[in-house]
Amino acid sequence: MLQTEQEYIRILRSRLEGTLPHDELDDILSDYTEHFRIGKANGRSEEELFCSLGSPEDVAREIRATHFVKKAEDTRSCRNIFHAVLATLGLGLFNLVFVLIPFILLVVLLFVVFILGIVFTVLGPVAFIYSVLQIAGIPAFAIWLSPAAGVFFSIGITSFGLLLVLGDYYLAKFFYRIGIRYLKWNIGVISGTECVT
């Protein structure tokens, strides 16, 4: 591969185009153009500068990850956090274990709690109707000690279900905030390969 300034800038641009806004992309590219310009003025070759900068692909991955995490922080949505996690995965195999697996476990946990909440919420009215039928003398399986207890039980179980759903919502918000902080920290620490001279 050619290790020229032009090539470095070309790779960066092609990896970031369409992801970043134009002015931000231009700003980033100008940092590297300046780096090459001053380096060359100091008598270093383009190849030398290219190599000590390291792989432009890694730089692009890091910028993408930062961009998506910031976006997920500014606008909370499932889509944005999903993009942020995906972009962070690109930083290294390492993150399959340290980002993807925790993320999947959390999503499953939140989903299971949500489903449980819904089930309990729906179960309440069902138990209620059941108890009312019993009180009305319509024969049904006697699952309660008394139909009256069944009425209270049904109210309790619906409240519990609603509480679970509400709790799940706050839990999701909490993990979202912690997750963003973790991803930011992660970007600062995890990096890809190093250029060997």
């Binding site: 940092d31 590297y32 003025a41 890694d58 930062t66 910031k70 600062g188 990096s191 190093e194 250029c195």
Partner: protein
Amino acid sequence: MNIQFKKGVLEICVLSVLAHKDCYGYELVGEISKRIDISEGTIYPLLRRLKDEGYVTTYLQESVEGPPRKYYRLTESGRTEEHDQKEEWMRFASSVNALLEGTTDAAD
């Protein structure tokens, strides 16, 4: 040395260099890579993050040769951050050193 290890301390290094003087990118990269062997390209994304966090601001300044250069300057909150991180690092480093020296003593 382990890349992850180095990258983790890069932020405090950048903040520390900027605490002494304003630098343009190439100069800052030079100051750091003089002492730590690192992919120099990753310093620019780090600088952008520091700018987003409000620790650093940039300004353009004319240079004797060629077009103006982008300088980085530590903000007030950047100075506080530098101070805090430095203290934390010093404490951490001296604890690790004490431990390492402790184990070699025991091995001897």
